[in-house]
Amino acid sequence: MKVISFGVLLFALWALLSGYFSPLLLSLGAISVALTLYLANRMNVIDHESYPLHLYSKFPLFFAYIMREIVIANIDVVKEILKIGSKGISPQVIKLPLPQQTDLGRAIYANSITLTPGTVTVELDKNFVTVHALTKEGADELLSGEMSVMIPDQLADK
């Protein structure tokens, strides 16, 4: 099931990237997709981590949330850079708990923290994530755990 949908996705990607739709080139594409699928299947890499189908239903909401956060955080950092209406930077190093159950969820959370400017994940281990924040406000917002609950994590929907 996963293999088939992965194959369809790969073939669509191939066709759209090449931009040629003649039968010869399409069949060459189909052959290379089949070869890739065979190898990926043999290597057992089409699993819930490399191809997280189960998270797709949650992705749009998460994406909208993270985009909003990126815009807000960018405005904050730009204010600090240009020193417009800011209290000045006050770098913080904080340790946050990781409530996510899976490695994938932890990685998404850590990447989301880094993706919003003003906070960078410095260290990631099993239960804690160490974050460097540009301002006290940014650190406090993370400590409130608001972002953590938005992270798609596969155990959450059971």
Binding site: L16, V71, V77, I81, I89, P117, V120, V122, H132, D140
Partner: protein, 105 residues
């Protein structure tokens, strides 16, 4: 109308890139500079790609721009994290501001 929109997006995106550059010079240490570079990574790139996307219209080019966005979305935080992690392991101490949060780290 679409031209105006895409010009605005490209202009704001370019401006954010310049501001990020100013920030890299203005901030005091490595970690804070990383945050300044973060604005160019994220919103600047997103706005420029969106502006170019409006120029491309609904075409294969737009799809390729979208792919660039997807790869940036996954790789740029990973790269930032790798930099910060390497600096921390290399023993570079961050300058800390007033009232450092929990202070546990």
């Amino acid at each position: 109308m679409i031209d105006v929109l895409s010009w605005v997006l490209l202009g704001v995106g370019g401006l954010l890139g310049v501001i990020g550059g100013i920030g890299i010079h203005r901030f005091p240490d490595f970690y804070t500079r990383l945050h300044a570079a973060g604005t160019t990574d994220t919103l600047c790139a997103i706005l420029i790609l969106l502006g170019l996307g409006f120029q491309a219209g609904l075409s294969l080019d737009a799809f390729k721009l979208f792919l660039i966005f997807v790869f940036l979305f996954f790789t740029s935080p990973t790269a930032s994290h790798a930099l910060a992690n390497a600096a921390m392991h290399g023993g570079l101490k961050p300058q800390l501001g007033r009232e450092n949060g929990s202070g546990k780290a």
